[in-house]
């Protein structure tokens, strides 16, 4: 029986990974007003840290709000309504950190306009918000895929940090509403159907391990 021909990619997929080190900025917030001012001035790597950290640290389904600002506003300031609004900011929809920062600023400013006294509400020193930033190290993993079987084999063994990098951060890097895997599968393998199937996944509702197996299973169907 003739074996099914395996399509070679026009470009090799290089698996990268991103490892983060947390750096303290020395900036703190005790009130909503402080928080707003700091969000406006901290480096982008700080906004990145407080909105993406949980994905790598809680790579299983977690009940925590998906960003540190929402968590602090809810638990330290007791502003549940604002906390919910901040938690609802869909990080994955933004293709630049500047836009994401703008979204947090807009939500808080809007809330303060409606509830001016909320700006002054402060928490105890021990509950301060500590602004941190991520120092990110991006490096090749040495794994390379030239076709779909390569891709599936590597997906089974790659670290979850690498999966995180190619799924969650692709938008911020390539500025497109897709992920690196779909982009490569569509453009280098010409398999739009599989690319779309992976692109449609809502990564927030999967653990990274589940994403690994779901993507691999979908890809295996085309081998």
């Amino acid at each position: 029986m003739k074996e099914k021909e395996i399509k070679k990619a026009s470009e090799t997929f290089l698996f990268y990974t991103r490892l983060n080190l947390s750096e303290l900025t020395g900036l703190k917030a005790f009130s909503l007003g402080d928080l707003l001012e700091r969000i406006k001035e901290v480096p982008e790597s700080s906004i990145y840290h407080h909105t993406h950290r949980f994905l790598q640290q809680h790579q299983y389904l977690s009940p925590e709000p998906p960003n540190d600002f929402a968590y602090w506003v809810t638990n330290a300031l007791g502003e549940k309504e604002l906390g919910e609004e901040l938690a609802s900011i869909d990080t994955v929809q933004f293709s630049t950190i500047a836009e994401l920062r703008g979204a947090f600023v807009a939500v808080i400013e809007n809330y303060i306009r409606e509830e001016p006294e909320a700006k002054l509400k402060a928490t105890h020193r021990s509950n301060a918000f500590y602004f941190m930033k991520s120092v990110s190290f991006i490096l090749p993993t040495g794994y390379e895929a030239n076709d779909l079987p390569d891709f599936c084999r590597i997906m089974e063994n790659i670290s979850i940090d690498s999966i995180y990098f190619h799924i969650f951060e692709a938008r911020l890097r390539i500025g497109k509403k897709t992920n690196d895997f779909s982009y490569w599968i569509e453009n280098s393998l010409g398999n739009k159907k599989l690319a779309d199937a992976i692109s449609r996944l809502d990564p927030y509702t999967y653990t990274l391990e589940d994403l690994r197996s779901t993507i691999t299973q979908k890809a295996l169907k085309y081998i």
């Binding site: 490892l19 947390s22 750096e23 303290l24 809680h58 790579q59």
Partner: protein, 403 residues
């Protein structure tokens, strides 16, 4: 001592591959650790494990120890307590003794490292030998509320370093140097944390007369007021009205600590007449601690104040449901109702313990989630990764580094 390959079944091949890859980027750099003792204490414990593992990853890590007499270490003990916020009678003479020994160490110790990694305050003055190499000060202490005089004295040296490392954001201060956050870790292959055969666990229980036919709740901590062992007994008594259970309070020797002796007496008094309370004054015996944790149905850490509270990570690593106070580094380890239960009072602790004993499925789920969280964030492999990234970061100013 475990080899790096032995961690692969726990954290996966890819994680170890990543460590090798980043370790390789430090080729040609000598990392010189300096602390005050090669045995005893948490810093020596972590360096004893970390240095050989770094070497296996081709990182040229070395370790030197400063010298000091009894007087010097009495002073540094006072400094340690004062940095933790305890009131200490510190005189000019103490600072003089500290500086005199420090000067002797400056003359005697060769600071040959490309990166000199100084742990805790004892060797801090060595920074005065800094040339064009990189120096990092690793603070393992909770300095969130220090004695101002001692902190001011030490800060003059801290600011001469290239960077400082703290275990929790709340321990950090506004400083003119870079500051990093690196959490401590546990070693899943150490005697305190490795898997144990059931007969070893049973042997420990039988040695201490603990039966297996009643649920066991335990707190394993020093007999120290800040660990609130008396409060734990109150919580247990409240639970006992509804669930027939046993309590183990186990901790290290208190003979050299006058306050510890008093606390132990109070604990014994409070426990009097209840044969289901087991108060165990343990010598340093990691296997026994491991066995007692593994035999427990619920593990408590009802501290009033805590540094990082790694006993919580140890318990979670064993897949145990944990009830712990929301103090120090504990909230970093437990997300309430997800990977354990946080409490703020004796009544709160009692309610949570009861809930876990009565809902074994829920308790099991919390334990599983807790273990997963520790696996991802508090194992020695993550600690090694952070250390290598820290050393690399000294050579880059950017927030995103392409290696």
């Amino acid at each position: 001592m475990a080899r790096i390959e032995e961690y692969i079944p726990i954290v996966g091949q890819a994680t170890i591959d990543d460590l090798r890859r980043i370790g390789n980027k430090l080729k040609g750099k000598v990392i010189q650790n300096i602390n005050s003792t090669s045995v005893g204490g948490g810093v020596a414990e972590i360096l004893n494990r970390m240095v050989p593992l770094l070497k296996e990853l081709q990182v040229d890590a070395r370790w030197d120890v400063i010298k000091g007499g009894a007087q010097f270490f009495e002073v540094t003990k006072k400094f340690h307590n004062a940095l933790h916020g305890k009131k200490e009678d510190i005189k000019q003479e103490d600072f003089d003794i500290f500086m005199e020994t420090s000067r002797m160490n400056i003359n005697e110790i060769d600071t040959y490292g490309d990166i000199v990694y100084v742990h805790d305050p004892q060797p801090i003055v060595l920074i005065d030998k800094k040339k064009d190499n990189k120096w990092v000060w690793r603070c393992h202490i909770d300095v969130s509320n220090p004695d101002k005089e001692v902190w001011k004295f030490l800060k003059e040296f801290v600011v001469k370093y290239d960077a400082a490392v703290f275990s929790s954001p709340s321990f950090s201060w506004k400083l003119p140097i870079r500051q990093f956050l690196i959490s401590p870790s546990i070693d899943p292959l150490s005697d305190k944390n490795r898997e144990l055969p059931q007969d070893v666990i049973d042997g420990v229980l039988s040695k201490y007369g603990i039966v297996k036919d009643k649920p066991i709740i335990s707190q394993i901590s020093r007999f120290d007021r800040l660990k609130d062992p008396v409060g734990v007994i109150s919580a247990y008594k409240s639970v006992k009205q509804y669930v027939d259970c046993q309590l183990i309070l186990a901790g290290g020797g208190a003979s050299d600590d006058p306050e510890g002796v008093l606390v132990l007496e109070e604990v014994r008094e409070k426990a009097k007449g209840d044969p289901d309370i087991h108060i165990l004054l343990l010598p340093q015996d990691d296997i026994t601690v491991n066995a007692l944790q593994r035999a427990s149905d619920v593990i408590i850490q009802k501290s009033l104040k805590e540094g990082f509270g790694l006993t919580v990570a140890e318990a979670l690593w064993k897949g145990k449901p944990v009830v712990a106070s929301a103090v120090g580094g504990i909230p970093l380890q437990i997300t309430h109702k997800y990977s354990g239960l946080l409490c703020h009072s004796i009544d709160g602790a009692a309610f949570s313990i009861k809930q876990l004993l009565n809902s074994p499925k829920y308790a099991k789920k919390l334990g599983e989630n807790g273990r997963e969280h520790v696996k991802n964030n508090f194992l020695i492999t993550r600690h090694i990764r952070d250390y290598i990234l820290l050393f690399l970061s000294l050579y880059f100013q950017e927030d995103t580094v392409y290696l």
